[in-house]
Symmetry: C2
Subunit: 100 residues, 2 copies
């Protein structure tokens, strides 16, 4: 199992807007080989920002990497970053391999 998490620092007060962006978005993940599940996660809120993370689970690192090279990936990311006042800086991608 392989997990890809993209961490987003969202400006205070913009949390609802950020979640709406994701609700309206077509992830194009359905039917992608090796794709298992997707969630948007809300983490801690500090004075500075609220942490969110996209959380996708894959059968393997290879399945994830093949998706990043696919047309489905290009379509899903064509609209990214169009509402810049919501984000405090670029997202931070973290990749994890399940060892247990």
């Amino acid at each position: 199992m392989f997990i890809a998490m993209n961490r987003f620092r969202i400006a205070p007060g913009k949390e609802g807007e950020f979640v709406e962006i994701w609700k309206k978005r077509d992830s194009h993940l359905k039917g992608v080989p090796g794709f298992m599940s997707f969630n948007l996660l809300q983490g801690a809120t500090t004075d500075e920002c609220t942490l969110f993370a996209s959380h996708s689970v894959w059968e393997s690192r290879q399945a994830f990497e093949e998706w990043t090279r696919s047309e489905a990936f290009r379509l899903a990311h064509a609209q990214a970053g169009q509402t810049k006042n919501v984000y405090l800086g670029p997202p931070n991608l973290e990749l994890f391999e399940a060892v247990i």
Copy 2:
């Protein structure tokens, strides 16, 4: 759905030892109300350390919090931190609520 991740910074060369600690550990999670799944995840390696994260999925924040107050939690953590040369600093707990 609720996800608890505890992030560990592990000393270079100690990755195998760290994974073995977790393989031998009795998590006491089986049968805990609201518990869904557990994985140990291996993340990126830098010059400084390798990132690992325990990753447990729960039906709700309430189920996770009740577990942290239980005897099962106390038993699972009784042995924690006994091999300190493996860890670079204390772990960092991050809690996430699935909003999508």
